[in-house]
Structures are given as C-alpha cells and as structure tokens.
Symmetry: C2
Subunit: 394 residues, 2 copies
Amino acid sequence: MKEISILGSTGSIGCNTLKVVEAFKGEFGVAALGAGSNTELLAEQVEAHRPRLVSVSDDESREKLIFELKQRGILNLPLISTGVEGLTEVATCDRVEIVIGAVVGALGLLPTYHALEMGRRVALANKETMVIAGELMTRAAERSGAELLPVDSEHNALHQCMRGEKREEIKRLVLTASGGPFRNADKQTIENATPAQALKHPTWRMGAKITIDSATMMNKGLEVIEAQWFFNCSADEIDVLVHPQSVVHSMVELIDGSIIAQMGVTDMRHAIQYALTYPARLPSQLPPLDLTALSKLEFFAPDTDRFPCLRLAYQALRRGGTMPAVLNAANEVAVAAFLDEKIRFGDIPRLIEAACDAHQISPANSLETVLNADRWARDWVTQKIANQTTAVTV
Amino acid sequence: MKEISILGSTGSIGCNTLKVVEAFKGEFGVAALGAGSNTELLAEQVEAHRPRLVSVSDDESREKLIFELKQRGILNLPLISTGVEGLTEVATCDRVEIVIGAVVGALGLLPTYHALEMGRRVALANKETMVIAGELMTRAAERSGAELLPVDSEHNALHQCMRGEKREEIKRLVLTASGGPFRNADKQTIENATPAQALKHPTWRMGAKITIDSATMMNKGLEVIEAQWFFNCSADEIDVLVHPQSVVHSMVELIDGSIIAQMGVTDMRHAIQYALTYPARLPSQLPPLDLTALSKLEFFAPDTDRFPCLRLAYQALRRGGTMPAVLNAANEVAVAAFLDEKIRFGDIPRLIEAACDAHQISPANSLETVLNADRWARDWVTQKIANQTTAVTV
C-alpha cells in the first residue's frame, strides 16, 4: 500500500483524489491532508480516511475542526497543523510516497518544493507552482530524482502521448482548450461579462478561480508556461488549439509528422489515477468514452484579440525570469477582484498587462526572488484596483 | 546504410517506398526489387536505384525488362528471376535488413515467410499475408526474433499508439475506416455500383483491388483479422469506427479509460518511413497535418447491413483456422470478377458468404493447409461465377 498526502484535500482535485483512493481500496493509504477553512468537509475526509496529520489555514479553523471531529465521535485525533508550515508538514510527512499538489494559487509553492527535495513523487494539479517556479521545481526534482507528474488534464494527456517517445523526436506540443463560456462571444460581451456568466464552464466542473481562468483563457496561457517546464520545451514548441468538445485532451507532433493524441471523458479522476498508478495503468471504474455518441470533434486556432490573456502568457514566457510569476500573481488578484465584482471581466487582462509592463525582470533563481515578484505584483495590482474606485477602467 | 528489398516495387506502396528511400539519401540502399509485368516502371526503378537482383512475373516480362534496360543504356544488368521463386529470392537476398512486403493478394505469403524465418525485419503492407497465415507468420517471427512491422496506415497507427504501453493494459483497438465511396449510399445503389463508382475513393489513393475492398469495407474486415495477429488480440478486442476524414488513423483504448490516437496526413510515405526507421523517427519532408484547416472530425458506428463484408470478416476471424484464408481468396476472385464486370458489386459479399459456408475448416497450422484452403476458395468462387452466366445473382 502506497501512502499519499494531499495538499488541498477539500478542493475539486482533492475530493476527486479521495474518490480514486476509495475506488482502489488497499492500493493507497491517506497519511496526511492539507486544507484551508472548509473544516466540515475536512472532518468528513478525516473520518473516512483516518490520516495521521492534517493541516488547516489557521487556529480558528483548527478549533472548528477539533469540534467537528469530536461531534463525529472521533476520539483519536490526528495531528493538526496550520498555515504554510502545516501544508509543508503534510507534504513532507513520514513514509509518504506520493504528494498530490492541489492547493489553488501560489500557496502550494513551498510545500511542493520540499516534497520534491525529499525525492517524492509529486502529482501536480497546482498550475501556479510550475508557472512561478518551474525552473526551481524541475531542478529540485532532478537533484533528488523525484518524479514530477502533471495531473491537470492537458499535461497529463501530453505525458501519456510521450510515453514511448524520445524528447528529441518531439516537434511540437498542442494543448487543447475548450474555449470557455465566451468562445463565440463578441468583444463587447466579453468585456462586460458577469461572474455568473464566466463561471458557467461548458465542459469541465472545476473551482471558481480556475473556471474564470478558463473564461479568460489565462488557464491555457498558464498551461503553456507549465508545459515548458514539465516537458523541457520552448514557447515556440507549444501551440494551443481550441477544441470545444474537450475530448482530445492534448496532442504531440513528432518530427516525422505523426500526431499522437490522448482522448478521454472530462473527468479529472482519470488524470489523478494515472498520476497515482504510473507507470502502471489500472482498470477504471468510470464509464468509457463513447466516440460514436460524440460524432463530431472541432478544432480552431485561438483568437488572442478577444482573449488577450493567452498572448500575455506567451509574452511572459518569452520574457522569462520572474515575469511568469508576476503574470500569475496579477491574474490571481484580478480574478479575485472580478469575482468580488470590483472590476470588469475586461479589466483582468488590462491589469495583468499593466503589471507585467511595470515589472523589472530578475532571474528566477531562488524561491525568495520569485516570491518577492509574486508579492510585488499582488501589491501593485491591489493598489491599482483600489485607485480605480474613481476610474472606470485601468 | 541499411539494405532493403521490396516485394511489389511497381505498386502503390512500392513506389512510395522508393520515394522515401530517395528522401533519405545515404540511409537506405535498394538491394532487390520484386515486381510483376510492369517492366517499363521496373526498368526506371532499376536505373534509379541499381539493385543487385530483380524479379518479374514470367519469362516474357523478363525479356521485356532486359529490352527496356538495354534501351536505357544499362550495361551492367541485375540478376533477373521470375515467379514466386523470384520474389522469394528478392525477400531472402543477401545482406538485406528490411523487406517491404507490398505485393497484392496471396502471392506475398511464401516470400514473407522466408524473410521472417531468416530474422529479417518485414515491413508488411500486404494484408493478405497476415489474414491467410497470421499465426504461421507471427510464430516464424517469434522463433527467429524477426520484427514484423505493419505498413498500412491503420496498423501502423496502432503500433505508434502502443509504443509506450503494455499489452495487458490495452483494452481495445479501434480501427478507423473512411467508409469508402458508398458511405452515404443506400442499399440499392451499393448493390448495382459500377467499377468506376467503386474506384473513386474519397481520401486515399491506392491500387484497384484495395480500393474496391475499401468500397465493400472488406478492407477493414481484413484489417481486423490482421490486427489480431499483429497485436495478439481477439475479435472482441477490435472495433471499427467510420471516420470519413481519415485523419485519425486508428486508436487504442487502455484499461484506465484513456484513448491514444494517431493522426496524420493521408500519405502512405509516413507509415513506410516509420517502418523503415523504427524505433527512431526521422524528420519528414512531407507537409504536416493542419488541424485547424480540418476543423471537424466525425465518427460513426459502421453499418454491417449495407456493408456485410465487415460482418463476414468478423465471422471468419471467430471461426478461425483456414476460414480467414477462404474469406480472403473468395474476396480476391470476386473483386477481380467485379472489376471485369462479370458480377455486380452486391455479389461480392454474397459470393464470399457462400464460399465460407461451403468451406470445411482446418487448423491453419502449415503453409500447405492455408494455401490449399486459398486454392479451394478460388476454384469454388471461380466455378460459381462461371455458373452464374445464366443466373442474375448467386
């Protein structure tokens, strides 16, 4: 039995990971769970999986969790830590073989880094970790021999497409994008989209932040940056293709002109299972993909005029250094402000572009440097939004 | 430089193989060419590639070839053999590392078998060899350690999809079919289709026999049988999906629900190059696939009511032994009769079904047995067609 720990257990990926664990009784044990403040769900997970260690956001959540656990009649309480230190304890917990990195945003950075330094397999669903600190993460994995496996559906698909291939025989990666809820919307509609409209994703059910990223296509931009580090590619070797059906999860073009594509149903449990069982594949209990029921698959070039976030991401990737960290942090703050109805949907790319233009690049050669760039961008965009109370747009 | 020999050099696959050889100057040398009676094209190939040995159908073709070569001012003539013996000499020619098996019909059987017995890589485009004697071929390859690589686009695609996969983790093979020229035709139109109509293939340019097989979907039926031997599968593990765009060349479903597909342009040179360079991939000089230009991929379940040949092939595969050999031979005779306008298009499956029903199965445990079954079916169907001069249908 392999012991796993989950960073972000009460989120969408975390819950699905526990479903996969339940589907493979005896294969995996849950040693540690890291969550935020959803103590009710965490208590339920603790009752079902009995981890040795859990982590929550702060002391208040800790007290709540203890109360919830006692309510459930659980006498033998796990260790309960808090904050980023708590998450790091979850990531580095004794005897754990696989760490699932699924917290949202920059919070996963340090815990993931420590898990990689210890040589643990990290199944990474947290895009931001690789966007902000891809070089540091891949170097840490190289030094320790840790496996760094992608859990998000596109990179997981790319990983599968490359199983039998040599890096030097790969010409191009093609990330597919659903196109989000505004795929066919005009510029004006996109500019003024409401949170309710932007949260209606056509094919995937995910958390709020990542769903908004899908609507702006920043999600795909972050994936392009992530792909560079996962697969040792340059921006010129990574393309994006809009594919509304989300059936082809991604593709690889080989130097001989052959294209290998991975397809499946839009259920994250497939990618999670793959990352847990790799290099083996185990029988899935999910319904298989019915290609005849789909009947039609479409592919379009993306429109960076209506979706400037994709262009901004390529630009940040090419500029390099701390620029992707700034792009990501600016995006996090802007998306949160949009969800809070403080800014328009169309302000999201404008704020990001302004932050990137204002940033002085440094080489991304230490966690301190990238975290400083992250903080700088958060402050800069927060200030910009605060100043905006009098202005209509940036 | 790897020396190759080609069985069927003046056919579609043979000519494309020589184009691939020309595109990779210095990588491959042509040691031997086996052809039929197209001595003009063969003479051109001899002039361009200077093989040590060639083979033609008979003495008349031999004389013609000598005349053609002298006309071209070639003084240093290659050895010129004839018949199946000649083809076998081509397949077993000294120092040859790769044999391309691309003659049409049952003729390729013996030469291919001998090449496999010698441990040579055989890049096989001749479907009938595996349909008639798949078990004998794969056993010969196992004994000598020969590599048996598929060149036709679907099996080549399956081979590529399986590069990084374990046999026991493969759940299902999905062969795609263009659906041929009669994909949307009604039963009556198909019944009375003319050779000119049946020869108009929507996506692939191939020889006449294989193009008719595509129109009846027997081509796909033969591929299902072939797939059993290439990939060690049962009939239940092989599915067919109509995909008019012929962009997805085939797919593999893994036990975890993931589907790996291979895509490419509809140019046989890709599969030929793959079989020549495997396990390496070399840069192709052909234009790449443009997925955005395609925009739409469709998939449908096949209709065995309008295309009974597919049903007959599954039936023969399940019955086993000499039955696939009978199916194939009956098909060859029926197709030739259709092209000669002796029978209707709709008679092709009726003749095959009648031959299969009349056949007494034996285990396919020797070349003699399968060749006897092949001869029996040819005679039976030929006789049936001769008797038909008075009857309208079988």
